[in-house]
């Protein structure tokens, strides 16, 4: 730094010869300090047309899912009620037929047990169908399969009982013939 520079820096206060209008400037500053601070600028994204479309699409999608979940829940409760009704109806019929079979004296206990053992297989099938229902597969088809399962069990017992009855009749006819 040479003498010229040193001289200026040492006397730099002498360059401050301008005088500010202090009260005028302060008045303006004070007025601005008193004003509430401007709120942070909010960018209204919704003003952009493509965002409007996107927003409508998202709202629509949301409503669809909500409706779907509600519908799905309603459907589930309907299916559960239907299964209860089916169980009540067919379990009653089935136990009635099993009782009839057990009462029948034409078959030995072993024969009865052997015949009813097919019920175990159908029970396994019934439990599997119930699981399918819980997994939310097409409930109508599964319920139809459950009904078919019950009907098959009842039909088999009924057929057996018919066959026993008809053979008993034949025997009695034979007996009558024989008597006659």
């Amino acid at each position: 730094m040479d003498d010229f520079e040193k001289h200026i820096r040492e006397n730099k206060a002498l360059f401050d010869f301008h005088e500010a209008d202090k009260s005028k400037i302060w008045k303006n500053i004070e007025a601005r300090l008193d004003k509430p601070q401007p709120k942070p600028k909010v960018i209204r994204l919704i003003n952009y047309p493509f965002l409007k479309v996107a927003a409508v699409f998202l709202i629509g999608l949301g409503l669809f899912f909500i409706a779907n979940i509600t519908t799905s829940n309603t459907e589930k409760s309907e299916v559960a009620q239907e299964l209860i009704d089916i169980d009540m109806h067919y379990k009653g019929l089935l136990s009635y037929n099993v009782k009839l079979l057990n009462k029948n004296s034409s078959l030995t206990t072993e024969q009865k047990e052997e015949f009813l053992s097919f019920m175990d297989d159908l029970d396994v099938e019934y439990e599997a169908l119930k699981k399918e229902l819980l997994r939310g597969l097409d409930s109508e088809i599964v319920l139809e399969a459950i009904v078919a399962n019950y009907k098959k069990r009842i039909e088999l017992i009924e057929n057996l009982l018919k066959q026993i009855n008809s053979s008993e009749k034949n025997i009695s006819n034979d007996k009558e013939t024989y008597i006659l």
Binding site: D3, E5, F15, D16, H18, A20, W26, I29
Partner: protein, 179 residues
Amino acid sequence: MDQNILNTHKELVEKCKLGDRIAQHKLYMLYIDAMYNVCKRIVKIDEDAEDIIQDCFIEAFGKLSSFRYESTFGSWLKKIVINKSINHLKKRKIQIVPLNNEIYHLKEETIENSPKMDIKKVSKGIELLPAGYQQIINLYLIEGYDHVEIGEVLGITASTSKSQYHRAKKKLIEIINRL
């Protein structure tokens, strides 16, 4: 820098941080003249300088919470003033650096030891300098900025600032000698 110097007007600054209007006015009164002169030397026009100074104090009071006494309050405030003043010139497309700033600075120029001069003549000489030279002379000689700081403010390299300063000083001495 000595912590006592850094803490100049600390009590007042702390009150200002809390929004104390009386403290804000006291701080304003302490610095207004110096800051107004800094601004006026750069922008020249009274009305522009007044508007810029208002903005500077509003900004300073607004972001005072970020002031951590890493420099003096005065130099912190002066930085705001200089930046705002230079930005004002940029907006008005007023020349802030010489046009040939990048072309002729490769060769270091020899500087003759300049004599002490009358400050009034120096001030007059600065006013007569080409616009591009004035800011570098003001920032280096009067505001005490180094060439790195000047480079940051004016958007030029430190070496460009240095070479342009030497050219500006040479020109200034020529002008003063003719006065």
